[in-house]
Amino acid sequence: MIHDLAVIGGGPAGVAGALTAALAGLRVVLLDGGPRLGGQYFRHAHGAEPEPRFARQSHALRQRAEVLLKHQVWAVSREDDAFTVHAHGTARAEVRARRVLIATGAHDRPLPFPGWDLPGVLTAGGAQALLKGERVPAGRRIAVAGTGPFLLPVAAGLARAGAEVAGVFEASGGLGLARHPVMALGKAGEAAGYAWALAARRVPYRRNHAVIAAHGEHELRAVTVARLDRDWNVLGTEELECDALAVGYGFVPQIELAVQLGCLTRQDADGTPVVDVDARQRTSVPGVWAAGEPTGVGGWELSETEGRIAGLALAGAGEVPGLLLRRRARLRAFAAALQGAYPVRPGWQSWLTPDTLICRCEEVPLARVREAQELGATDARSIKLLARPGMGWCQGRMCGYALACLAGEPQQPPRRPIAQPISLGALAEPPQKEH
């Protein structure tokens, strides 16, 4: 059977897009790698109820569309009149559809620093996933560091769960918690809730501060916290004991499937490559649509709005309601303002030492990157070929941003022939033609 639409990703954008299209009569299949719908924002533990509105949407979706969970999509290929979505779950699976909606979300954007590979150091999103999806706080005494509004919910969640949050270290300057841009931009209630949760537990919130090193033998036992100038150069340091660190410097949209299919990309406000879409969320490739973080990082509300617009347009609704278009415009402006308020400043490179790992997978230290540059590798691609950063298991997802910065070049769209590593054994299995 050929579906009218295959939606890849079960977060706010994917669920909204799939549901909208299914309600309009399309035969829809949605695939997600996780065990439950929700994506990162609506992630919830086994047996827990997700946020009520999302729960209603998920419930309605399951009645009207096929939902394939624990199906990781590793490629989408195109034949004359349809796409084949290749997934790997308990077995290999293939799904065919006339059109595809890419709603694959984003992952954390880490910056390297000495000791960032010690166990106990997690990405901010990783600490959040562990707490929301598994009910496990990352540690007993936790530092939260990086830049951007996402640090607040991570810290507040950990504090509410009973962990001691040793401090929130926001590398950017800006206005402090009371005049946090999230407050200024119409999310006062949400931000005030986080601020309250932190203030009530006397969690220090420090602007112009960062964690610049992690210490420990086999696990994290302390971090170095630095006071920064506005370019993030170090002005002074102190040590802080903690057994976990949640750290994140923004997000990287997952766009490899769109790139595989040949969709044009553009640079978002902060230089991040994102999928270029038109007013109806169509990519440059006929039949391929995108919504949510792959078209620009902007949070769950924007993702959901884009998903609905895509769903309506996919179903052939003539005009997309002006209300939705205006909401999207407002949320995109908000996202651009946040990106502008929390830029990554170049001084982080001064936190590195020659033996700081840049690539965790291939264990490539800064010294080897510099050596490759001295041998004439001037761009990230040649550095990769000489010193192998970004050539390991994660395919450069964790170090790609840092490596481009070190090479002094803009971020490039990812070129990954397969979006998820898949074992040769799994590839050799005959695919189950599901559905």
Partner: protein
């Protein structure tokens, strides 16, 4: 379903139903369970969402499984390297 144990290098580690192997390990205070190929550096969870591949374990004889993605099942035999 009730809490159950999985075996990690022969040692019993409790898991909640629906919990991933990585979360069960972390909750039990086991946060470092792999050594890297070259430097022998300790590793555990990092990204928590299946993209970094730091959390690899062997489960019931299958190598290179991501502990943060794989749901624990009663009787699972996990070995770390």
């Amino acid at each position: 379903m009730e809490r159950f144990d999985i075996s990690v290098d022969g040692r019993a580690v409790p898991a909640e139903p629906g919990q991933t192997i990585g979360a069960a390990l972390h909750a039990a205070g086991v946060r470092s369970w792999r050594s890297t190929r070259f430097g022998g550096r300790p590793r555990g969870l990092f990204c928590g969402i299946g993209v970094c591949f730091d959390c690899l374990v062997e489960v019931n004889g299958r190598p290179a499984e991501r502990a943060c993605q794989l749901e624990a099942r009663p009787g699972d035999e996990v070995s770390t390297s």
